[in-house]
Symmetry: C2
Subunit: 294 residues, 2 copies
């Protein structure tokens, strides 16, 4: 433990930090970190993204070459879609310097943390999942303020040193977020219901409207706030969501099936006109929603 702890020597203010992936989440994090560390380096696949990040002042330096971008960095953060993170984790180890803190921003954690387990021993891994975002995507949508006030889940491994975890949490606090340690399986179970299920519900709602009422031109004149809010997250980035859903298949499937059962229970009460039971069920749900968001 003593030896491991020694490996992470820096404080955030002296750190060279590399963000791999400069989309909404990575670009925003880079911008939020400016001024909190020695240097912020961005790595993007496309040259235009590199130019945009530099032009917007979100990074101090940027490159399209991963090896160059992470070389000599104290902290490297993977801000790509989950399945790209998984591939990068299998390749990046040898490019990182001794004691480098390697974090990610992926929305599912079990597969990522399992892959992190296989990193070479000189790397300090820390799973991460900031509970914030927007429906827009790409560097154009980057907004350094999105992390402010958000909960930022971290999933340390048994091999993660206390110093590495402390440095990761210092970074989280620097961008205005609140670190919260949750193990990977538990976080995947929770987000399946509170994040991935709402996304699929929103998608099913849009899909239903498209299959039925959208044929009536008047629908666009009367579409109300309820539909807009309930369907909002259906506008989320598809590449990101496909990766999230496919790396949390079992838990997402279970959450959706539970929700379908709840819908069948409610619609049965409507169909049979069971007023008393419908009132009891809806009152209980309303009370619970108020407890969730006082």
């Amino acid at each position: 433990m003593t030896q491991r702890t020694k490996r992470v020597r820096v404080r955030l203010s002296g750190a060279r930090v590399t963000i791999v992936g400069l989309g909404l989440m990575g670009g925003s994090l880079a911008g939020a970190l400016c001024g909190h560390c020695r240097t912020v380096i961005g790595v993007a696949r496309r040259a235009e993204t590199v130019e945009a990040a530099l032009a917007r002042g979100l990074v101090d330096q940027a490159t399209t070459e991963l090896a160059h971008g992470v070389s000599g960095s104290d902290i490297v953060i993977l801000a790509t879609p989950v399945r790209v993170i998984l591939r990068q984790l299998s390749e990046i180890g040898s490019l990182l310097q001794e004691g480098c803190l390697l974090m990610d921003l992926g929305s599912t954690k079990a597969q990522i943390v399992a892959e992190m387990q296989d990193l070479p021993p000189h790397v300090q891994p820390l799973g991460g999942h900031p509970m914030c975002g927007k429906e827009t995507s790409g560097i154009e949508a980057a907004d350094p303020t999105i992390y402010r006030g958000a909960t930022f889940i971290t999933s340390p491994l048994a091999r993660t040193s206390e110093a590495a975890l402390a440095l990761g949490h210092e970074l989280v606090r620097a961008v205005g977020a609140h670190p919260l340690v949750i193990d990977a399986a538990r976080q995947d179970y929770l987000v399946a219901t509170i994040s991935h299920l709402p996304y699929l519900l929103a998608c099913a709602l849009v899909s239903t409207a498209d299959a039925t009422t959208s044929a009536d031109p008047l629908v666009w004149k009367i579409i109300a706030g309820g539909f807009r809010d309930t369907s909002r997250v259906a506008g989320s980035d598809v590449t990101m969501m496909v990766d999230i859903l496919l790396t949390n298949r079992e838990k997402v499937t279970k959450a959706v099936n539970t929700c379908i059962e709840q819908m069948q229970r409610l619609v049965c009460l409507v169909e049979t006109g069971d007023k008393a039971s419908l009132r009891t069920a809806l009152s209980s749900i309303r009370r619970k929603r108020r407890e969730m968001f006082p």
Copy 2:
């Protein structure tokens, strides 16, 4: 037609208007009408509501007695839950003066318009449904600005005179809303999908979280904007929603069942890990959502 037309003599500015029901929608409408007509009278079941409406200056006069409140009025608007409206429609005819415009604010229209058909011939009926609202309810939540910019559906009957329809639309415009004529069956079909379905989806989501993840205290620390927005309308007034659902049973049941099919289609792609089809389906849905809300 000529005879009917003569019956509605007033312009809004000279009208005595009675709002029956001083909850969120009725109280807000009363407040929005002040200054646009001669007198605004409120009718509420409870004396405390009468006092609150007067204290807040939402009405010129208020009473708990329906017969007294509607006597001599040029326009009467029923702003009670749908099944209360149905009962009031069967009783109110003889209390109304010759040529009185009788409107309602109920969210379902087929049953209401059918009941309006049986009103005595000296009454001019006009179904109404303003596409606005809030999750709060009661006179305390009344806000005269909620109608501004909203679409206000009107469903005239064959017996409704042109003058009565024009007066109704003048009232709609006076509170800042845009009148849109839709027949009752068509409006009930459209709102089943764009309003009642989102409500039941939000309820099923809350219910699912309650049955599963709510047992974990950490869930409250990470619950994100997606869940909050998708579940928002589950906080709607239960009395109002029970009446809406039970007076639109067939169309709501059909919309929910279509949505369950869409969810089953999407979760099947997740469960089997069919990446290409999942991406295609979610991309198409995202594009449709963007067309709906450019």
